[in-house]
Symmetry: C2
Subunit: 472 residues, 2 copies
């Protein structure tokens, strides 16, 4: 009796403690049974009992193999918890953070941007100095609601030259291309709305859409754009609100939508009352820009957006959205409410570099350099037995296929052990059917060590059975 009472009290005390921890850290993993038993100086069975009761109450949640977590109910929204805990080499967020936190000696052929040394720091330096020197520059006030007018005027002119019918008033400047996509998604989507993305696609599209609580539907991608039959049937089945794509120099494949596919896409969009969101972030890598989607449609159903983070600098953020006037008004209100517009100093600096010829000259030097790296990398990869899915016309990405029986996640894990961070196909794939693919950034693949490491692993892997379940 006494023992029972005492045990009861100990359990109650453990319950109170776990309750406190769970309340303080919703969504977070709670201490292990062993650790809590030690801390409370009780037996492990007492803690097990306490956890069980709280699990029954719904205060905590048992996740086999991972322990107990404070329940989802009151938990903060966590992108990384929406997917099972992945091995580092196949967790997009981990790879992303690694690439953003460079360490000496680590190679990043899976990274999504150009190396520092390929970007024109001197030009940025000159731009900042010029803005600092300019007596008329705005160095203290907020920008206009839609952003620095001269830059919008210039962007409109550039887009008109590409065949897009754009007025400066239908452009909203943002702090980055990602921020532009995010604004558009928040503006157009209700939680639970279906959104079509390419399969494979830029992995951050998935994270962004998760943040907006959208239902993500993948449409198979071909070297000419999305598979139109599947696109049509997915529209009928899911009634998506929008389709989000990198139409020109697609990420991760490097493909570009053909004019014919674009035309039929727009017809499908009209038929299914769908909005097309076109991320044009890589278009400037092309010497003769492909039309993409907006040029065909004149902004009836297409939203066009971009930035200079990939082609000029990622340290000075400046992006933009082009859309119908009524949408731009709503997007501007949302941008004001959630960030009070964009940096006017970034916009003024970008304007200078776009108008004084610096950006044009930089691109003219960059394109052949990328083409050369593309040829060299594709050659080296093919000699290792990898196959090109398509031959991109420009840009930095190569989407390559491993020989049958090999798995890119396994490869990525083994490469990581040798300080090479790869981008295995499934981090881009909604359906997870890209396990034989890898994305290479040709500008980040200049180091011979990369191919030595790949060669070693491929040599040894070829003789081993492939791993069936890479998420283990």
């Amino acid at each position: 009796m006494l023992d029972q009472t005492k045990a009861g009290t100990l359990i109650e005390r453990a319950i109170a403690e776990i309750r406190r921890l769970a309340a303080a850290a919703p969504g977070v993993r709670l201490p292990s049974i062993r650790r809590l038993a030690e801390r409370q100086q009780v037996s492990k069975s007492t803690i097990v009992e306490a956890y069980d009761r709280l699990a029954a109450e719904g205060v905590v949640e048992a996740r086999p193999g991972s322990g107990f977590f404070a329940t989802a109910r009151a938990k903060p929204f966590a992108l990384s918890e929406n997917t099972p805990k992945l091995d580092r080499a196949i967790d997009p967020l981990w790879i992303y953070r690694q690439a953003l936190t460079p360490r000496a000696g680590v190679l990043h052929p899976g990274c999504g941007w150009l190396p520092d040394s390929w970007l024109p720091a001197d030009i940025i330096r000159r731009g900042l100095r010029a803005v600092a020197r300019d007596e008329g520059a705005n160095l203290s006030a907020y920008s206009l609601p839609q952003g620095f007018w001269p830059l919008r005027e210039h962007l409109a002119r550039r887009l008109v030259e590409r065949g897009l019918a754009v007025e400066p008033s239908s452009i909203l400047l943002t702090d980055s291309g990602s921020r532009a996509i995010d604004l558009v998604c928040r503006f157009l989507l209700e939680p639970g709305d279906a959104v079509l993305v390419d399969d494979p696609c830029y992995f951050n599209f998935q994270a962004m859409l998760q943040a907006q609580r959208a239902r993500i539907i993948g449409v198979p991608y071909t070297p000419h754009g999305p598979d139109l039959d599947r696109f049509a049937s997915l529209c009928a089945e899911h009634r998506p609100r929008l389709y989000l794509t990198t139409a020109v120099l697609h990420n991760p494949t490097g493909a570009t939508v053909s004019v014919g596919t674009a035309h039929r896409l727009l017809k499908l969009a009209e038929q299914h009352d769908l909005i097309l969101v076109e991320d044009a972030i890589f278009t400037d890598f092309e010497a003769r820009p492909s039309p993409g989607l907006a040029a065909l449609d004149g902004f009836e159903r297409v939203i066009h957006l971009g930035s200079f983070s990939k082609t000029l600098t990622a340290a000075l953020r400046c992006g933009y959205v082009v859309a119908r006037a009524d949408w731009i008004e709503g997007l501007t209100d949302l941008a004001l409410a959630t960030g009070i517009g964009c940096s006017d100093i970034a916009a003024q600096t970008t304007f200078r570099l776009l108008t004084d010829g610096s950006y044009r000259r930089h691109l003219e030097a960059l394109r052949p350099r990328l083409a050369k790296a593309m040829a060299a990398t594709s050659d080296r990869l093919q000699r290792l037995g990898l196959t090109l899915w398509t031959e991109p016309e420009a840009g930095m990405f190569l989407w390559v296929e491993l020989p049958e029986g090999l798995d890119s996640a396994t490869l990525a894990m083994r490469a990581l052990e040798q300080d090479v961070v790869l981008a295995p196909g499934n981090i881009f794939s909604v359906s997870q059917n890209a396990s034989r693919f890898l994305r290479f950034n040709v500008a980040q693949s200049g180091d011979k060590r990369l191919f030595d490491v790949l060669g070693d692993i491929l040599g040894s892997e070829a003789s081993q059975p492939a791993s069936a379940d890479f998420t283990r």
Copy 2:
């Protein structure tokens, strides 16, 4: 016949009100028939009729046993459509856009920031030059996931000096204070979650929370902080997820939470499992910073955030969030997914100005200048018959009350005709009970014409009956 017409008008009015509420909170439960009848001072059958018509239109949805809910429609989210088209002088977004689009000859005493001439453009100029000159500066790469380390280290040191226990690793840099608040709200809130805000509060809090589809609950504000009895009962009634406040130099009132109130707030937060989000954007206006909320709690339940947009420059955006390590990790993932971090050039420039003494010297000159403007403005307003709600210890805001019988929205409309953009109380008020108040920015109130215009209107208004319904 006449009665029928009158009933029709009452129904129309009820429909307009429900439409407004439904647009503001899609998916959320609308007020009960009884409550709305009381509020509109009409019979319950009028409200039933109004709800029925709107249900037929699909604007609301009846859920048996639960009442009426705003239909979650698939239309673009438009902040400006959440309220009926307001007269310009009382539409917060219109006032905001006006202040952001300055025109010669228009006075903006209702504006929420310092005039350009009060901000140190020369210092920014020097900072930009120094970064451009620095061979070690990052001018092309993305920032680290949490932002430029030396700035986080410096911010941590500053905060430690104010009694906050902060590590650089628990700071996330953002592109602005608004972006910081928005990130925190997106991270912590599910659509439909209740959020407490001060009544009155910074009007953008409401727009931001609407964007997150939160239920906004106002808690009456006193000169020492929120009314604690009401705070407690609202916690019990609505089970809010968080409380969002400008604890030090509150916007719009200029009041600062007392230590006693802060202590009791934290106890209530613990009791009701509530997170407190403290926007510290004005703290640097104080020579001896008030403790606010985070200093008492050590980041158990408080999230602290701020920026330099109000005190240094709004053209170079740099804000920050301080929170528990596990939340910072989730916030960082969300920041990467929705904007790939912040501008590293902005962070490096801010770091220089914070560490080379420029910012300190600027603040030392700014504070007495603000104090002088505060004294002059409060004197002039009182001579016009207006009453100070409290005497702020620092900062730029004065919250003043009109004589009985006068309405600040009417006053604002008349002032607008004479190119004076005021900030009438109800743009800040969730309950719309601040119709006799105005917010003045003392740094924007130096022009004698302002007081001449006010004097003229007050002189003529005093002899007229007040407008009862300013939203007409």
